[in-house]
Every structure is written in structure tokens, then in C-alpha cells.
Symmetry: C2
Subunit: 380 residues, 2 copies
């Protein structure tokens, strides 16, 4: 199958996660993504290691995010090297960057300058808090964006601190939006021949991500409250949440309370089931929590599934990855770093015409493709 973005060239002036995760998706969909990096040090993510996990001289995380890309090094402060980049820009379809507002402009590579070189370019940039206003120069870091966005009051229970998501949600969701803006612009370009300037920010993306809750907030003027125990979603009624059993945890989604009471044989719940399940969710959840502790996960799931109630066992990766239902997804792919080393990571989650999109090309060594690219595009 011919990948949908075959022939598209992306120059990625990005670091860490938000911008590079967008480049990763574009690469998996068939684009040629060239990372433009500083000589010697390279992208900052190369040296950000987790638990001291390295693949050669680069961190495992860098490898995870930058598989299937090329690397071209240039010192943008050197006039000759900057001129070479400008030659390269003539051949590109897309430029991405996630530097703080003003940095690319100072290097002579702001949108207006790039557009003068290549009028059809799609220039796509990520900022932390938007490019104007009092916060524009703050560090665009995931946890900080979570903290100011209100998101940390959606998770955990009402008597707990605000709790951040344990995954870089602002970076990830903003990277998804960047891809969407780029792809939509490519469609317009195919029809109209015009380029585009795409702007997203971590904060706006994270606010949009909360659109269900925010719309509710705007209508009611009250921050949706987390339940006192077993919160699953501050907008939802009892029993929605995760419950401890005698030997593990189960999740219970939207279910009819009377049916639930009957399935788990709880008289207390049957009595409470007449109450409003949103207004009295703490009381009802407490009844469920006490009762479900008295037997095993499998016991309860058998009862619940017998009458098609929405419940499931809570799994960690140790258990999940052993299950046939996981394995048939074939979500893992192996990337060979060299003859000795390989890493396992996830593949692109999108299937096209029944095919999974795989790539076994590892992240590039710093500057690995500079000479080849210069020759290819006859850059002096």
C-alpha cells in the first residue's frame, strides 16, 4: 500500500514531545520527516533519559518519539549554515517548530521570512500559552499547563489535592491538533495551491480537551465536583468509578442501580437505588465500595456480565500484555537500532485498508543524514 503522505517533506525544528510526536505521526503516515538539530548536542530530548535507559548515546524516550525520521545538523547562528537551511526550505512542504515565541523569528526563520522563500509552505507552530499575552514567555511545560488549565480538579477524589494526569496530556493532545491543522492545510493546498500558517498552544489544546466539562461549567458557573470516593468523572452519577474487591479492582461504568443491586445481591444498594444517583453519588458509591470488598473480582464480574452490565477487570501491563485479546491487536513493533540492539514500541494506532502502519527505522544518529540531504538537494 502507498502511504497517504508519501512525497511530503517535513522540516522539524522541534524538541521534547509535543512537536516531535506530531512529526512521528506524519512519518508513520508516509511523510519524510527531517529533524533540524544543533550540531554536537542535537535536540534537547536526546539527553533526557528516564531511569537511565539509553540506546547508544541517545535516550530511549528520544528513540520512542523520533523513530522513522532523518537528522540534519545546522548552526542557525552561522550565516552559511542558515543559508543552506533556507535552500532546503525551498524543497519542503511543511515546517514545524515548538520553540518559545520569538525564537524562530530571531533566527530569521519566522513565518513571514519562510513564506518569502517558499510561498506555499505550511508553517505549523506550537507555543505553551499562545503567542501573545502575559503568559507567552512562561515555560511551556506539560505539568505547568495541566496545573493552570483546571484539569487537575477532574481526577481523584473531592477530599484530595488536585491530581495531575500521569501522562503528558498537554503535549500529546496538542501534537494531535498540530497534525490535524497540517493535514487540513495540505488538503486545501491540493485544491487551491495556497500554504498556511498553523498555530496551536498547549493551553488552548488542553482547554478544548476539557470541552464537555467547560461547557457545563459555563452553563452552571460551578466547577464540576469530584465525588468523595471512587471518582471516575466529575460529571457522572454513581456508581461510575473503580472499586476494590477482595483480590483486585474492577471498573463499573453507567449501570442501572436496581439491576446492579440485584446482580451483586446488596439490599442496602436496592434501598439506596431510589435516590438521585448524581445527588447522592457519595452515599451510593460508599455502599457499593463496602459491598464489593467482600468477594473477588471474578465473582462480581460473572454476576454483572450475566445481565450485561458494563464492568471490567482493572489491568496493569504485566497482565494485559499476556492476554490473547491484547496480542491479536499487534500494537507492538520492533525497531532494530543495529545488529545487536532493538527496542519494542507501539505502532501508529490508525489502520488503512486493513493494514497496520509499521516502520522499523530507528531514530537517526545526530546529523546522520546531513551530507546525503545536501547532495540530494544540491545545497552548497
Amino acid at each position: 500500500m502507498e502511504l497517504p503522505l508519501k512525497g511530503i517533506i517535513v522540516l522539524e525544528f522541534c524538541q521534547y514531545l509535543s512537536g516531535p510526536s506530531a512529526g512521528l505521526r506524519l512519518a508513520d503516515l508516509g511523510a519524510r520527516v527531517i529533524k533540524i538539530e544543533r550540531p554536537e548536542i542535537g535536540e534537547a530530548g536526546r539527553s533526557l533519559s528516564i531511569k537511565n535507559l539509553w540506546v547508544g548515546s541517545d535516550s530511549l524516550l528520544f528513540h520512542t518519539i523520533n523513530r522513522n525520521k532523518e537528522s540534519y545538523t545546522a548552526n542557525l547562528k552561522n550565516a552559511e549554515e542558515l543559508a543552506a537551511i533556507k535552500q532546503l526550505i525551498k524543497h519542503a512542504h511543511i515546517i514545524t517548530h515548538n520553540f518559545r515565541p520569538g525564537v524562530m523569528e530571531k533566527s530569521g526563520l519566522g513565518y513571514e521570512a519562510v513564506k518569502a522563500i517558499n510561498p506555499g509552505i505550511i508553517y505549523a507552530e506550537v507555543s505553551g500559552y499562545g503567542k501573545n499575552g502575559p503568559w507567552k514567555d512562561l515555560p511551556g511545560q506539560d505539568l505547568l499547563i495541566q496545573a493552570i488549565s483546571g484539569l487537575t480538579y477532574t481526577t481523584g477524589n473531592a477530599n484530595q489535592s488536585p491530581i495531575p494526569f500521569g501522562i503528558s496530556i498537554a503535549d500529546m493532545i496538542c501534537g494531535e491538533h498540530l497534525v490535524q491543522g497540517i493535514l487540513a492545510s495540505l488538503i486545501r493546498k491540493a485544491k487551491k495551491g495556497v500554504g498556511a500558517h498553523i498555530e496551536v498552544s498547549l493551553l488552548e489544546s488542553l482547554l478544548d480537551f476539557q470541552f464537555e466539562l467547560l461547557t457545563t461549567y459555563f452553563a452552571s458557573n460551578k466547577q464540576p465536583e469530584r465525588s468523595l470516593i471512587n471518582n471516575g468523572n466529575p460529571l457522572l452519577s454513581a456508581p461510575y468509578g473503580i472499586y476494590q474487591t477482595k483480590d483486585g479492582y474492577i471498573a463499573i461504568a453507567m449501570v442501572n442501580l436496581l439491576q446492579l443491586a440485584e446482580a451483586i445481591e446488596s439490599d442496602a444498594l436496592a434501598k439506596a437505588a431510589v435516590k438521585n444517583p448524581f445527588e447522592y453519588r457519595d452515599d451510593i458509591k460508599q455502599i457499593c465500595a463496602d459491598h464489593l470488598l467482600t468477594n473477588t473480582s471474578q465473582h462480581w464480574l460473572n454476576k454483572l456480565h450475566a445481565i450485561d452490565l458494563w464492568a471490567i477487570e482493572v489491568l496493569d501491563w504485566q497482565k494485559l500484555t499476556t492476554l490473547p485479546a491484547y496480542q491479536q491487536l499487534q500494537i507492538e513493533q520492533v525497531i532494530a537500532i543495529d545488529e545487536q540492539q532493538k527496542i519494542i514500541t507501539t505502532r501508529c494506532p490508525i489502520r488503512i485498508n486493513g493494514e497496520r502502519l509499521l516502520s522499523n527505522k530507528s531514530a537517526p544518529l545526530l546529523g546522520a543524514d546531513t551530507e546525503k540531504i545536501k547532495q540530494e538537494f544540491q545545497i552548497a
Copy 2:
């Protein structure tokens, strides 16, 4: 500005959040999105209300997710009405659905059947757990997918239960991927004239969302552990997390421990700063937590910002929405339901050529556009 997807027609056979959120983005980017709904009842999301918030006969949430769309009603079990839908399909560029595997096929609207009617169609579908394997018929519900994906062990602290994200992350992220698959296919279609069959699933999307942690897991074979207190991200060292102060909460991201010790004047932290900040993160976080309780958020932020350490106040929406930095983003938009009623929601987070993408068209009444669409496309 001409929106990038102008002229593209989407038929949305979707309910609740994952599929409809993709349709919302396509509509905001300029596509014409027609919801195909059952007569009388309509999409299931119309009657899923939160806190009893309604806009006319439809829930506020339905309005939030389905602004800027049209509604066409048809009973797919009625041969004539199905025939009309097939006529409509000839004019469409994209079909989306998020029914359980087999449902659209039973209605005679599976990919192969639709392709026979319109060979260039982009047919994009969402399942819960993939379309094959032992889980394919389980309910594709957000909390259940979170529970089995391992995600709930990333958030909260090590001695707590697994904790779900308080927002429908599986639905949301899968909707983003659906949009990407569709847009990439439109680009290929513009070049090659071929349609595409796009498949995503809530589970695969949520696994890919965890790709940083999963790659680390595959390399180490250990589920990344949440810290015992103030977990921000199971992969990151102390002090990364949210801390209570005398009068509120602050978030502290990656910082040098010695600099932090100096800024907050903690001798205990200065001593502990020589330890490995990942291995001893619980001890180090406890020292920070105890110390930060002794003064106000503003006091600490002044100290931290004076030497450019990454920290910020934790905000709820009540506070956030009053700040000029929030207001200048202009993330809110007003949607007029009729002359009396309006709702406030968020806009599309992507800006194109400096413009925000706004739409004041409210969600359609059930079947509001059926007759108009029949006439327009001369459907008998």
C-alpha cells in the same frame, strides 16, 4: 478565509463522544457534517444529560459535541429509507461510524457495500477493542477501556487504587486519530483518486497514547511505579508534582534540586539533593511537601521564579477564567440556540493564518435537515 475542508461532505453514523468529536473537528475545519439519526429518538447522546442540563429537548452535552452539524433521519430497517441513504452516499466524501463491529454490515452499510456504491469513499470507523478477537463484542465504553489499558496505574500515588482520568480520554484521543486517518486519506485521494478504509479503536488509541511509558515497560519489564506521594508522572524524578502550600497548591516541574533547596531555603532538601532524584524521589518529595506547607503559594512562586525554576500556581476554572492571560486566548465562543437561549463552549483549538475557527451554528434538532437534503440531492 476559506476553511480548508470546504466542499467536503461527511455522513456521520455516530453516537456519544468518540465519533461525534471527530465530526465536530471536521465541521470546524470547514466540512459539511450530516448526522444520520434514527427517527424519533435520534442519536443516543441526545438524551444523555449531565446534572439535568438541557437545551430544549436535547442534552447540553449533545449540543457541545454536535454544534455546526446537520441532522437527517432515516430508519435503516425500512427498505425505502435505506435506499435513500444509499443515494445520499453517492454524494458523500466521508462516512464515519462508531457502532459495534457488525452493526453497519447488518444494515447493509459495511465498507464493501458502501464502496460498491461510491468507490472513492473514505470510510472511517471506530471500535472499542478492534474488530476481531475475544473482546470485540464488549462495550466500547471509556472507563472500561481506561481500566484494561494500564492507564489507571499512571495517576495518583503508589499506595492508592488505580485512578482513572476524570475525562473521557479514550474517546477523545481516538476521535483525534480518526480525524488524522480521514485527513491523510483525503490527501492521498486528491493525488491518486483512491478512497480508503480507516479503522481505529479506543483501546489501540489509548495504548499508543501511553507510548512513552509502554516503551519503557517493554525495555525494563516493570510497570513504571507511581511515587508514594505527589506523583506527577511515574517516569519522572523528584520533585515533579503538585504540592500543597499554606493557602493553595503549586506545581513544580523539572528543577535542579540544589537550586530548589536554595530558593525555598530548605537545609533538609540541600542535604537530600545529593541523592539520586529518581531512586529517592519519595524521600525528597516528602521533604519538599513538609517545607512548602509552611508558607503561601505566592511566597514560594516569587522565590522560584526569581531564579527561573519551573513552577506555577494550580488553578481551578473559577480563578483561571478571570485572568487576562486566559481571556486573551479567546477560547470561548457563544452559540445561539434560538433568540432566547445561548450556550458558551470552547472553539476549535487550531488557528489558521492567525484566525480562530468559530461557528455559531448550534446542534441540529432531530431531522431538521432531512427534507432540505432530499431536495438538494434529488433523493426520491
